[in-house]
Each structure stands twice: as C-alpha cells, then as structure tokens.
Subunit: 115 residues, 2 copies
C-alpha cells in the first residue's frame, strides 16, 4: 500500500482556459500505480472558479473544506459545503466557483484516462 | 447532477465477518447512476475495525476525520489522520482499525462492481 501525506503532494496551478485561482493535487493516481481511479483535490481561492465546461466522463465529488458553488447546465447555482457530495453525469455542463472569503477544497474523483 | 447531503444518506452497519463497530454510507454509487465509481464513507467507532481481508480490486482512501490505523500485509500498523490518502493495491491484505477515543471516518472509493 502507498500512504501519502497530502500536504507533501505537489500542488499544480490549473492552467486550463476559463480556470481562475484554482490549484490541484493528485492525491492518488498513476504515480501510485492506480490504474482505474484518480483522486484529485482541488482548491479554489476566493473569487476563483473552474472552467464552465463539459466532458464525456463523470465526476464524483466530495467537499473537503470551505464553501463554494456549483452551477448546473440550467445556470442554477447550488451551494456546497463539507456535508455535500456531488455526482456530475457525463456530458453535463458544470462550473465550480468560490464567492466566499475562505478557500474551497473538494475531491474530484475520475476514472484514470490512461486506463 | 445529483447533490447529496451526507448527513441524510442511510447509514448501514457493516455485517461482514471480522468487522466490528463499522458503519458505511454510500455517498455516490448506483443510486446516483454512477456506473463506474462508488464512493463510500466508513465510520469506525473507538475499538472497532474492518475485517483483515484481501480482494482483487483496489481501494482509494482519503481520511475525513479522526485518527486510525491501517495494518499492511506484513502486520505493520500505520497511523492515519485527515492529512492522509492511501492506495491499497489489489490482492493486498489490509485492515483498518480505531484504537482511539473518537470516531475514525474515511472515504473508500472503488470501481462499481456492477460495471
């Protein structure tokens, strides 16, 4: 087994077009030889957001800390906190954002695209 | 998308042989139409443990709260807290336990066995 200290995992600035003030850590993924599942932890700083985008794979999400929002494909905003989990179906337009004063952190788990 | 309030998700006592004082919530799974990934949250009460067992699928684990231990296939105990993630490879003997005074909660993410 491989045990990681999340604080020591490299934090990457998300450079994707439409992303603002978002970082990502791959907590468990190909580096740990996980062939099927990749667990990423995102941090959105106050005022930041992920791209409003869609893709053909699903997201399994668990909020870790802070508060934020997710916008659905109808433009409706849903408040999220550490008590929430989210399933974003393949092909669904969505965007995470943080209109609050504290960082908003969540796990976003996907199938390993390399699998 | 489907947004869940984790507090409202049904908590199930884990009845598997060798399990003691362990409950599980399926935060995201087949009920949310997640075909590939199942995210479960386990809670081990003080003194409890999961079975010492092995299986042919991997575990992707993120500690949510409290402190606990994981025993590896060599019988070595590793302390875990909310700053840790774990990858348990397929076929590896392992056991989670809680020798502390507070509940130990962690996410354990697997491929959907129905997929």
């Amino acid at each position: 087994m491989i045990i990681r200290e999340n604080a020591k995992v490299k934090e990457i600035m998300v450079q994707m077009e439409g992303a603002s003030n978002v970082t990502m850590k791959i907590l468990i993924g190909s580096d740990e030889n996980s062939k099927n599942i990749v667990m990423r932890q995102f941090k959105i700083l106050p005022g930041g957001h992920t791209p409003k985008h869609t893709h053909d794979f699903e997201h399994v999400v668990k909020v870790v800390s802070g508060k934020g929002q997710i916008e659905d494909e109808n433009g409706k905003l849903h408040e999220l906190n550490a008590g929430n989990s989210v399933f974003v179906v393949p092909g669904e337009l969505h965007q995470f954002s943080n209109p609050n004063d504290e960082p908003f952190e969540f796990l976003c788990i996907i199938l390993n695209p390399a699998s």
